[in-house]
């Protein structure tokens, strides 16, 4: 019968209309500003720099300014200048640090490649997205002070991943200590107190190739 298809369609829309009053499957609206969707743990939007503690973020950045992420970033939105001097990181090891670490969020495409290539677990993906602004030039270019967020924040947004990372870093640190001990014991007479830079110029899991940036 002509028109039966139309009537059938109307039946479906009526079912959806009525269903939207009692069936959450059919009423999917999320009342955004008041009600926020729970972001999945894996959600990623813009990178941030992990610092070991919140009180001194600049002093405890995990980043050692190796510039791998800068080189690998596909849209080239990271800019790093590393320091010429060294200062102790969270474990007390002398390390180079980034004096300038800028990310241009107006270019970043949140592809996560910087996170994948970072050998120091220093850069991770954030979950903020409510950053609409009126000012493009200064507000969207994030410097290291704005990028640094404590490890506790990382645990908050990516709990599983952060626990894995912490366990891995701890194991690495232990291995490094044992290695240093083993290196120190055979020839105690030569260098009783080896300088930290001499025994551990690199973290143990530093990449074999390209770990130190080519100039």
């Amino acid at each position: 019968m002509l028109g039966s298809g139309l009537l059938q369609g109307l039946k479906v829309t009526a079912k959806n209309l009525v269903g939207s009053f009692h069936d959450p499957e059919r009423l999917t609206t999320l009342e955004y500003p008041e009600q926020k969707a729970k972001l999945p743990e894996n959600y990623r939007n813009f990178p941030f720099l992990v610092s070991e503690n919140a009180t001194d973020p600049m002093g405890t950045l995990r980043c050692v300014g190796c510039q791998i992420c800068e080189k690998e970033c596909p849209p080239q939105c990271i800019y790093i200048e590393k320091s010429k001097d060294k200062k102790p990181d969270a474990t007390g090891k002398m390390q180079v640090y980034p004096v300038v670490f800028d990310i241009d969020t107006s270019v970043c495409m949140s592809c996560q490649i910087c996170v994948e290539v970072c050998p120091f677990e220093a850069i991770k993906m954030d979950q903020v997205f409510e950053i609409a602004t009126k000012d493009r030039f200064t507000a969207l270019l994030l410097d290291r002070n704005q990028l640094a967020k404590p490890n506790s924040y990382y645990h908050e947004i990516h709990p599983t991943e952060a626990a894995e990372v912490d366990a891995r870093l701890l194991a690495e640190r232990k291995a490094a200590e044992e290695k240093a001990k083993a290196a120190a014991t055979p020839k105690p007479a030569v260098a009783p107190t080896p300088s930290p830079t001499a025994t551990a110029p690199k973290p143990p899991e530093a990449p074999a190739a390209g770990g130190t940036p080519a100039p």
């Binding site: 955004y32 849209p75 080239q76 200048e81 969020t105 107006s106 270019v107 409510e130 609409a132 030039f137």
Partner: protein, 224 residues
């Protein structure tokens, strides 16, 4: 209004509000809305921003998603996507503006009636984004038209678009119809007529509109 409710009498600047914010809040609590014509106009404008149905690239899909049931842009009065620029208030530049497309975007902007607003949605519309270094990609639509709100992200979530829209609504609510901070469209000299670039042999002519695009210059050091 009692004397006790009055705040400290400060020297009233010429043209200052006769009724202070605190007093108006107090009145509002009692169910009396005291307002100015400017504010009520702005309120109306901000709650019915009609966007142009204009999708460029990936972000357009998220823009469509924002207008669908899950995110429901209709709750903010912006569900009326107009196909014609003559009926639209808001240009959402949702995606990469290529150099081939840029003249058309400027033309659309010129055809929209004032007051009009522009949201640059996504990295590409703001700065060219990941495609910035391409030979045919415009490095930001703000080289040719004034942008009110920038929403970074690639693409921004639909919630981020709604957040940007709320920012724009806030901006519309507080815009002034007179005085030094008058809204853009009321400024003398603003003729709603932005220069449309021409296709050149290698690039757009001109590559940016100097009346709109005033980028600060950046100097980076030589690296070791």
């Amino acid at each position: 209004m009692t004397d006790a409710a009055r705040p400290e009498p400060t020297e009233p600047a010429p043209g200052a509000h006769l009724v202070t914010e605190a007093e108006r809040d107090e009145l509002r609590r009692h169910g009396i809305l005291l307002t100015k014509l400017e504010e009520i106009v702005n309120l109306g404008r901000s709650k019915s921003v009609w966007p142009l149905q204009f999708g460029l690239a990936c972000c357009a899909i998220e823009m469509i998603a924002a207008s669908m049931a899950r995110f429901d842009i209709a709750r903010f009065g912006s569900e009326v996507f107009r196909p014609s620029p003559r009926q639209a208030d808001l240009l959402i530049v949702s995606g990469t503006v290529t150099k081939k497309m840029a003249p058309q975007v400027v033309r659309l902007w010129n055809q929209m009636p004032e007051p009009k607003y522009c949201i640059a949605m996504g990295a590409c519309a703001i700065s060219g984004g990941p495609f910035k270094q391409g030979y045919n990609v415009l490095k930001g639509i703000d080289r040719f038209i004034p942008v009110d709100v920038y929403i970074p992200g690639c693409p921004p979530r639909p919630e981020a678009l709604l957040h940007g829209l709320l920012q724009l609504q806030e901006q519309i609510r507080t815009q002034k119809s007179s005085g030094p901070n008058v809204a853009r469209h009321l400024r003398p000299g603003d003729r709603c007529d932005y220069a449309v670039p021409e296709f050149g042999e290698r690039d757009l002519e001109p590559p940016a509109n100097p009346a709109v695009w005033q980028a600060p210059s950046i100097v980076r050091n030589e690296k070791a």
